[in-house]
Assembly symmetry: C2
Homo-oligomer: 278 residues x 2
């Protein structure tokens, strides 16, 4: 997603030059080749030197080390922001690592996804009509906040401000839990002796449902661990719902099942124009 941020800022003329850094040198080289960044730095400290905006696009578990690696080289007045899917942990790491510069750290989470990743998946329009959650702290400078929000708006995004803990509970419900369910279902099938045969009968519904299970396990290990308290709560509530369904199936409780299916179908149809035959 870092590549898409670079592409979006560049396309809108919001930056004069972009320096990129990735632990994978191949990714750096490709980003330069594609013109997404003007140059690749050999390390995070070198990448932030001279920058007035630093965008951290790393798995959330890598943030503490990354923040420590850049703090000494940050320009006075440089804005720092991130794209992490969890916010309480990233803000705690930033508060811890950045010292007074934490006032210019603006935690952000663009709720955007893409089927492609890496520099070749960069999409300058990825943030058009997407929601970017901004979780400010007491210490966050109003000026830093306004400038980062303006950048996102320039890329076509809507801003939603909320507390970090509120963000994490919300996302546990509508993002982290669905990912865990998709990973769990695929892992479950993969562990069975006839997995290949079963998967060969997977239809379009299965493909839609499990698409998010193809997501990066590295990134998602970090997310589920970082947000395990809120995620665990959502997970246990869902387990209780599934146990209720199991009992209703066994008891032939048609009325309850019907109400549950109707509520779900009506609710899902309400969130957009999607319809599905089967």
């Amino acid at each position: 997603m870092g590549a898409s941020v670079a592409a979006a800022l560049r396309r809108r003329g919001l930056t004069s030059s972009i320096v990129g850094y990735d632990r994978d040198r191949g990714v750096c080289a490709r980003a330069v080749e594609l013109g997404l960044v003007d140059e690749a730095a050999p390390g995070p400290a070198q990448a932030v030197r001279g920058a007035d905006l630093v965008v951290l696009a790393a798995p959330v578990g890598a943030m503490p080390e990354l923040l420590k690696a850049i703090v000494a080289q940050l320009e006075p007045g440089a804005l720092v922001t991130d794209l992490g899917s969890t916010k309480s942990d990233v803000m705690a790491a930033a508060r811890d690592a950045l010292g007074p510069a934490f006032a210019r750290f603006v935690a952000a989470h663009p709720i955007a996804g893409s089927e492609r990743s890496g520099p070749d998946g960069a999409d300058p329009d990825l943030f058009e009509d997407c929601t970017v959650v901004i979780t400010a702290a007491r210490e966050t400078s109003a000026g830093a906040l306004a400038r980062v929000e303006a950048l996102w708006r320039s890329c076509g995004a809507r801003i939603a401000r909320m507390e970090a803990g509120d963000h994490d509970r919300l996302l546990a419900s509508v993002s982290h839990l669905p990912h865990v369910l998709a990973f769990a279902l695929v892992a479950q099938i993969a562990g069975e002796p006839d997995a290949q045969r079963k998967l060969s009968f997977a239809g379009p519904g299965f493909r839609d449902f499990t698409r998010i299970a193809a997501s990066s396990p590295v990134m998602w290990l970090d997310i589920v661990l970082a947000n395990r308290a809120a995620l665990g709560q959502e997970l246990r509530a869902l387990i209780a719902m599934l146990q209720r369904i199991d009992r209703a199936l066994e008891a032939g409780d048609v009325r309850w099942l019907q109400q549950m299916l109707e509520l779900a179908s009506r609710t899902r149809r309400s969130i957009d124009g999607d319809r599905h035959e089967q």
Copy 2:
């Protein structure tokens, strides 16, 4: 899906005339208007009179009544087939209702889906490259089987023959369980006081994951009830997997979580070229 069968047969010149019937008169009128059927019959018995092929495209729970309604009017030698998502129950109903004509009943399940339903969603190419499961009984005539399979192949489908019970266990795993999970998640969120706010933060991953929850609750009530034994087994296995994940989150069992996520991601990536950034 009945409309897509009509469109597919017509497009390939496999039929001289098509008579349609639906309980909803508006659907009948629209199917005639679109030229999907040549005429609409006032009832199921009238619809099958003179037909050499009868395609039953109704929710599986409606099959027993429907079969009883048509049996007296079936032409000698008429083939009967269905499109139901469960097979043991439909075959039992057909065996029960059709008497000797059961030899010409060929149970079929095209594993195809579409985001659109009804006559306006008819797609003559829906079955291109799709798998059609055929579950024959001991009594099924070899000639009837060959003719129905040839029709599906003409529409671009691959045939997979298996036992009805085997089909139902397989589909419980790769279709019915994912649908139940998607319905359950959406019903769970819908039942919470801040449902609208939560849904307003749903990203593309949530939309993909829950698309199947917009499916017809009528059709899915029938499916989950018809296949409740096999579905219940899959559901309880998945609940055990989710409980294992919950324990791993609580215990911080990083290694197990990592292996589970990697297995799921690798497996999901293997079934097609899909990739997803987050």
